[in-house]
């Protein structure tokens, strides 16, 4: 019997260790798993490496996690957002490390981890400062930079609906990084608006097959 539903947010984030690489879904606030992030703050893990497109805004979600001093490093494409203040302050003070990755490379590095590939060549960033120290290669007349897989110890993601097998559908553009992160972590934890019965999701419209999911917690609307 497969039942990936857990009963509490505490159970959902149990076992996340200090120093863990945590993939956090969302593009800005949309699709960001704020319930899980706040549960992670409660849970207490520290020295975290956060992989996310942005680095939080205001004082909730990732910004709250940063503000609580739990994050050693952020790997993202765009740390600034409208209303972001915490990351800027910590970064300028040298209190958090930043690895800046082009957005498509960020997504593709996680896909490579999830898909069992050893790395890939992308034209994005080739020849620029962000490619310094990386292997670069001309393939069929064009310059590419070699990028390695980026795997998470944990992925925290948000979806709209899930069944007990962990099949997921998303809401509009809240999909964004969530499906690729689900593939790319040893432990994938999902907060969902609601859970539904097995077979209730259209098999042709499931976006994340349950094979990529470990824990599902029902939380209702976003924070």
């Amino acid at each position: 019997m497969i039942d990936k539903r857990v009963r509490s947010l505490a159970e959902a984030v149990a076992g996340i260790r200090d120093g863990a690489v945590v993939l956090c879904g969302g593009f800005g606030a949309s699709g960001q798993p704020d319930h899980l992030i706040h549960a992670l703050i409660e849970q207490g893990a520290k020295d975290l490496v956060i992989v996310s497109n942005n680095a939080g805004a205001g004082h909730t979600g990732l910004a709250a996690l940063l503000d609580a001093g739990r994050v050693r490093k952020v790997i993202c494409s765009y740390p600034r957002s409208a209303g972001s203040v915490v990351f800027e302050r910590l970064w300028a003070a040298g209190k958090v490390e930043l690895e800046l990755v082009p957005q498509g490379t960020l997504s593709e590095r996680m896909r490579a981890a999830g898909a069992g590939l050893g790395g890939f060549y992308t034209p994005a960033g080739a020849g620029t400062k962000l490619a310094e120290g990386k292997e670069q290669r001309v393939i069929d007349g064009r310059l590419y930079v070699f990028e390695k897989p980026l795997k998470g110890d944990v992925a925290l993601i948000r979806a709209e609906r899930a069944d007990r097998w962990g099949n997921l559908v998303y809401r509009k553009a809240a999909r964004n990084f969530n499906p690729v992160m689900a593939m790319a972590a040893d432990l994938t934890v999902v907060e969902v608006k609601e859970t539904v019965g097995l077979g209730a999701l259209d098999p042709e419209a499931i976006v994340t097959p349950g094979i990529f999911v470990d824990r599902v917690v029902e939380v209702g609307d976003p924070l």
Binding site: A115, G116, W165, L198, P203, I206, P209
Partner: protein, 223 residues
């Protein structure tokens, strides 16, 4: 001495498939395994053509050309099952998301090398399908095969005589005569059909066999 039938080999392999696991069945003999999963276990079968949740064959007359397994036989979809692209299907395979791949083989070596894609017959084109991806990517690979060829040549070899599908990947082999584990110290016989001695089995096996201390008779019901 009574060798197992092909269906009995599949039955025996099915007994070892853990509840809740994600399993790919290779073409041919392994596809029979799904018929023999012990009651009460919920297994999610993956088919390389983009299906999770493969169910039993449909009743005669209800076949659907768009519901087929890797062998291109008609199947059904269980509640909770879903469809996805080949890209995602092989991301699952290569990315280590399948708990188990049960594959057919021409030969397996004592080191766990697998040969199942070509006999180098000049009259007969080779076909690799998903075998190399499965062999490289599944968390565990087990093989189902006849112990020898029709010409009584051993299929368990010191070194494979056919080109490899992958090196060092097979962990257990189910044949019509025995269940054999591939260990760092070579082949270890776990089960052997009643009436057959280790010496009898060794006579149809190229590499040296050892008998497990806790070996058992290999018995299967009439299926």
């Amino acid at each position: 001495m009574k060798p197992l039938s092909r269906r009995q080999i599949a039955w025996r392999a099915a007994q070892d498939v853990a509840d809740g696991s994600y399993v790919n069945l290779g073409i041919g003999l392994p596809t029979l395994v799904s018929d023999f999963i012990p009651p009460g276990r919920e297994i999610v079968f993956h088919s390389e053509n983009g299906i999770l949740g493969v169910g039993p064959a449909p009743p005669k007359g209800e076949e659907d050309r768009d519901l087929i397994n890797a062998t291109k036989q008609p199947i059904t979809l269980l509640p909770g099952g879903c469809f996805f692209t080949h890209s995602d299907s092989f991301a699952m395979i290569r990315g280590g998301h399948l708990d188990l791949a049960l594959l057919g083989a021409f030969e397996v070596s004592e080191r766990g090398d697998l040969a199942n894609w070509t006999t180098e017959d000049p009259e007969w084109p080779p076909g690799v399908g998903g075998a190399m991806d499965l062999a490289a990517g599944a968390r565990e690979v087990r093989v189902l095969m006849e112990h020898t060829t029709k010409e009584a040549t051993p299929r368990l070899r010191r070194r494979c005589t056919y080109p490899l599908t992958a090196a060092h990947v097979v962990r257990r082999v189910y044949t019509n005569l025995a269940v054999i584990d591939v260990t760092d110290e070579g082949l270890l016989v776990r089960e052997i059909v009643p009436g057959m001695t280790l010496a009898d089995l060794q006579a149809v096996t190229e590499p040296t066999l050892r008998l497990a201390d806790d070996w058992r008779p290999l018995e299967a019901p009439a299926v």
